[in-house]
């Protein structure tokens, strides 16, 4: 059971968007922005408040890649693997980050909840390929070594 504050926040977000099926996606997007993931309890709560069944809400939340039922790390790193980044060698950058952070395709978040590593299909910054973003800040013209430095820098900021 989540703390009451979570439900109050969710209620506040629901009121901003209005009670309608069409508000479902914007509401759960805002909840995810707030908590960096979508707590399953809140999805059930939103479904009930909007008067749609839970299965329906769940089917929507699982369809879209952006929603995550698992808590994410403080720094969400997205490595772009769009065409332009791919032909300018984004794969070695991803591999370096996997080994640097001890993550893999099946394990996206570090145990200390500091980093989540994801790939995206295109960030639209193709002119600067290869790119990655950390919490929406774009880092252009990356290399595996620059990625290592970036991780060290972010870790250093935490110590």
């Amino acid at each position: 059971m989540l703390d009451q504050a979570y439900y109050d926040k969710a209620q506040e977000i629901i009121e901003q968007h209005g009670v309608a099926q069409a508000s479902l996606i914007p509401i759960i997007q805002d909840i995810q922005t707030e908590y960096r993931y979508l707590p399953p309890e809140l999805l059930s709560f939103v479904a009930k408040q909007l008067g749609i069944n839970e299965a329906k809400a769940y089917s929507v939340a699982t369809f879209y890649e952006n929603f995550s039922f698992e808590p994410k790390g403080k720094y969400i790193i997205k490595v772009c693997d769009g065409t332009a980044c791919h032909v300018r060698r984004s794969t070695p950058i991803l591999e370096r980050l996997y080994s640097e952070l001890g993550l893999s395709k099946n394990k996206a978040t570090t145990d200390d909840m500091l980093f989540t590593l994801e790939t995206v299909s295109c960030l639209g910054a193709c002119g600067l390929a290869p790119v990655l973003t950390v919490n929406d800040k774009v880092y252009p013209s990356m290399t595996p070594d620059a990625a290592t430095e970036l991780i060290q820098e972010l870790r250093g900021g935490e110590a």
Binding site: T83, A84, L128
Partner: protein
């Protein structure tokens, strides 16, 4: 800002703002598109503002070039939208001289202020250089000179966060013209007559869509703008939304007036946070000025606009999936008919066009269809924006008349292949498009010519590939993308793309058989003929076009187990050059598979049966003695 209650006020604001802009001594436009912001243009903007504030009474001289000497000693610093020359960012444009400084760094700001702004000197190291020539002025740089920027005209030249600037360029005049001079059906006919075709992919005639919606019995109608630019390698729409959001909004409003719609939705992908915030701001400003809402400019026309953020599903770029997503459902396409023009958003008649299409509308209304049809080929008139990326010297956002050849785009505007490489292929149209080769370079870029070649304009991504690119791997890459993004509703796409991906993976791992090629072709034909939506129907195109144009590479992977571009890891064979190896043992110590052995000060050897092709030895070697063979 004043409320624009009628057309006269709009004209007054246009004249006043234009006068103010003309009176400024100098305008400094710092690119604040996603690319340049990533390069630090935000900090550059702050620093330039500080410098100007520190010197409020600076005597600015710019030689004889200043057209407005003595009017007002005022310097205007603005954040603009994307200038398009992303490779050279961060970019700074200085008006009225039209100087473009490239690769500007924070530490350059003081020099720019004290030398260029105060003394009128040019700073050589910030000027763009190509083939030994220096280009101080933006318009003379080959990258810009060969373009025809109409849709992107304002991008990089106005402050995207101030609506008055858009109005000063003649913004919202097309809307005023239709509201006060034209009947809705005249507007539909004009767009029909102009032959404007949808810039989002298939090139469907826009006027025809509008006419269909206008003819429906149902009177609740919607306008939807597709800003879900999901094709990897495309960012034209992002730049319009970030750099000139009002142009697209004006286009949507004209469409709404023409078809009698009351509400509109803009669906933007979540990966474009800056575009979303600029659009929100633009809508808020238009609402405040009374350009959105009830009785716009005192007319009978009312219109409301909403923004929806995508949630990371590529398939939502398909019309019926997009409207399903706005309604709060899973974004899955449905069987048609009924078409979107009959039953679209909330099952009401809906005009659905993409960002660039809407951005074309105001200029057609203002300049007329004859003018529009004079640009480009008769059946595909107008210009098209392309995102030019990959192994090309000048990456960025470009706009050329339809019908321009691929060669002109890649070699004249793009400056040719990066790092002296050789041109191999160009991928056009993203996962729904195809790969064209050198013999196709003379092809004219328009909807019909490309379709004949088994490619399509798609949303306009052009990814140039050099000889370090493996075409089989590229086909695998796109199939992997499509397979991931398949919504799963129809069997041909869900299962067919998976089987095709398995075959392609087998081939790049060196386990392919010649029969695989027939199987790929059979599956491709089946998916193309039977998939439910446009995305499924075009999913096999990247494979089909590479099979057609680069079949020898497939055969090489299958028969010779060789990847000439050295991209496919499984086929790499690392060798130690005996002439260069000093026998230091560093490679052996770095090999995670224990595949390297040898005696100190003698040449080491790699056991290729044990080698896992990771390349650790190659990067460890201090003597450059380890290479991939072949």
């Amino acid at each position: 800002m004043r409320k624009i209650e009628n057309r006269t006020i709009l004209n007054e604001i246009q004249a006043e703002t234009k006068q103010k802009i003309d009176q400024t001594r100098m305008r400094i436009l710092i690119c604040a598109g996603t690319g340049c912001l990533a390069g630090g243009s935000g900090e550059i903007y702050e620093r330039m503002c500080e410098l100007v504030k520190e010197n409020p009474n600076v005597e600015v001289k710019f030689g004889a070039e200043i057209a407005h000497e003595g009017v007002e000693n005022h310097i205007d610093i603005k954040k603009s939208g994307c200038h398009g020359f992303c490779e050279m960012g961060p970019l700074m444009r200085i008006e009225p001289q039209g100087i473009l400084y490239t690769k500007v760094k924070l530490e350059d700001c003081d020099a720019i202020f004290h030398r260029t702004i105060e003394k009128g000197e040019l700073i050589r190291h910030l000027m763009y250089k190509q083939d030994g020539m220096e280009y101080p002025k933006q318009e003379e740089i080959p990258f810009y000179k060969k373009q025809t920027r109409l849709v992107l005209k304002n991008c990089g030249h106005i402050d995207a966060e101030h609506m008055e600037e858009y109005i000063a360029t003649g913004g919202y005049q097309a809307l005023a013209k239709v509201l006060f001079e034209q009947k809705p059906e005249d507007v539909v006919n004009e767009i029909m007559e102009s032959n404007l075709r949808g810039r989002g992919g298939g090139g469907f005639t826009t006027g025809y869509k509008w006419q269909q919606v206008a003819r429906q019995k149902e009177t609740t109608r919607y306008i939807v703008c597709n800003g879900d630019e999901g094709d990897p390698g495309a960012f034209m729409d992002r730049s319009v939304m970030e750099g000139d959001p009002h142009k697209m909004i004006e286009g949507m409003m004209i469409a709404a007036y023409a078809v009698g719609a009351q509400e509109g939705y803009i669906y933007v992908r979540a990966e474009y946070p800056l575009a979303i915030s600029r659009l929100k701001l633009a809508i808020a400003q238009a609402e405040e000025a009374g350009l959105l809402g009830e009785h716009i400019m005192g007319s009978d026309f009312s219109f409301k606009l909403h923004i929806n953020r995508g949630a990371g599903a590529f398939v939502c770029g398909e019309g019926s999936a997009l409207t399903a997503s706005i309604e709060g459902n899973r974004g899955m396409p449905r069987v048609k008919p009924p078409r979107t023009v009959e039953q679209g958003l909330f099952a009401k008649p809906t005009v659905l066009n993409n960002v660039e299409t809407f951005a074309n509308v105001p200029m057609i209304i203002l300049n007329g269809t004859d003018w529009y049809k004079s640009i480009g080929p008769e059946k595909s008139p107008g210009t098209k924006a392309f995102a030019l990326t990959g192994s090309v010297k000048n990456t960025g956002l470009i706009e050329v008349p339809m019908g321009t050849t691929l060669r002109e785009v890649i070699f004249d505007i793009g400056g040719g292949i990066k790092d002296g490489g050789n041109f191999k292929a160009v991928q056009i149209g993203g996962p729904s498009g195809g790969c064209l080769m050198e013999t196709n370079l003379e092809i004219s870029l328009d909807f019909d010519s490309l379709k004949k070649m088994g490619a399509m304009i798609g949303s306009g991504g052009l990814v140039v590939m050099d000889d370090h690119t493996c075409m089989v791997e590229v086909a695998r890459f796109f199939m992997n993308f499509t397979q991931n993004e398949s919504c799963g509703k129809c069997v041909p796409c869900r299962e067919g793309t998976k089987r095709m991906l398995e075959i392609l993976e087998r081939i790049v791992e060196g386990k392919g058989e010649l029969g695989d090629l027939d199987l790929l072709e059979e599956l491709a034909t089946m998916i193309t003929e039977t998939a439910l939506c446009g995305l499924g129907k075009s999913a096999a195109l990247p494979v089909m076009s590479t099979l057609k144009n680069f079949r020898n590479e497939y055969v090489e992977h299958i028969v010779d187990k060789k990847c000439a571009a050295h991209v496919c890891q499984a086929m790499r064979r690392y060798v130690i050059s005996p002439e260069r190896c000093k026998g230091c043992s560093k490679c052996a110590r770095n090999c995670p598979a224990g595949a390297i052995s040898g005696q100190i000060r003698e040449v080491f050897k790699i056991d290729n049966d044990k080698c896992i092709k990771c390349g650790a030895c190659e990067s460890a070697c201090a003597f450059d003695a380890i290479h991939v063979e072949g």
